[in-house]
Symmetry: C2
Subunit: 150 residues, 2 copies
Amino acid sequence: MPHPDPATLIAARGGRVTRTRTAVLSVLFEAGRPISHDEVGEALAAQGIGHDRVTLYRTLDWLVGNDLAHKVAGPDRAWRFNAVRDEGHQHAHFQCDRCGKVFCLESLQPAIAATLPSGFRLGRAELTFHGLCPACPGTTLAPERNRVAP
Amino acid sequence: MPHPDPATLIAARGGRVTRTRTAVLSVLFEAGRPISHDEVGEALAAQGIGHDRVTLYRTLDWLVGNDLAHKVAGPDRAWRFNAVRDEGHQHAHFQCDRCGKVFCLESLQPAIAATLPSGFRLGRAELTFHGLCPACPGTTLAPERNRVAP
DNA sequence: CGCACTAACGCTACAATGTTGCATTAACCA
DNA sequence: TGGTTAATGCAACATTGTAGCGTTAGTGCG
Ligand SMILES: [Mn+2]
Ligand SMILES: [Mn+2]
Ligand SMILES: [Zn+2]
Ligand SMILES: [Zn+2]
């Protein structure tokens, strides 16, 4: 399935279709994983698209606020941004301990069972796995089994 | 059960027992939840203990590196630090969407079942609940049930 | 106790990430 | 095609954390 058209998506939200917005959303679609503000900036520069740091922050915020992207915390306290495909964004993430890349585990449907202490009202749960991504060499210290109960 | 003696714990790790270290560890014990660098600093100031920003960062890092504290990400990309009681630090956390406070759910033993895509090697899993803490008013949009499967 | 050794401190400077205010530009619509 | 104003670009600032380096003080030993 090809990527949706950024301009159409942006217009559908009532936003102005600008060069920066379409380019940024396009970059997010092609990245395939959540990338940092800085990585987006590099991609824009590679396309010869001039951009201001602040504009980029605001563009990314606009995309998130209009449900065209979502952001997830990275290991280095910089947000990673990802184009939204399926509605809901109900999936876990993976952070590589070596290269720092973050991945959405879209296909993964983890089952979590837990009962919170009284007084805590649940909004949502966020599940992040840490370890080594497919591209990084080495082995983890933890058991190699892929079933976990932290 | 009363708090362990900070000075004893610090000396046991081979570190020098300084005023800052004992005071910081004591503050962490009394906080009862993970608190930010800044909150630690305020607590120190309230005790009339002079401190330097950098020293405080280094002290907290030392405590973490020596397994006397652990740090967990907050909602505002500032770390929260917590005195370690039980070994292992195998528990979930809760972030309040209103006041931003972070809580360790020490007693909670969530069950997670998931199978990672091939190539990903698992180190550990991190489970964070979001919602409203006992001290904050309001209701969440999510279902009030305390069972979740994201 | 008094001294030596050096871990820990405190200061300055710097880096990374993100925000605010405001004048200018350009997307959209009539 | 022109007017309206959302979006941009620039400068200045805020927050969180790090690196270098001279100074202070905790510790062990005679
Ligand atoms: Mn995601
Ligand atoms: Mn904890
Ligand atoms: Zn990796
Ligand atoms: Zn709260």
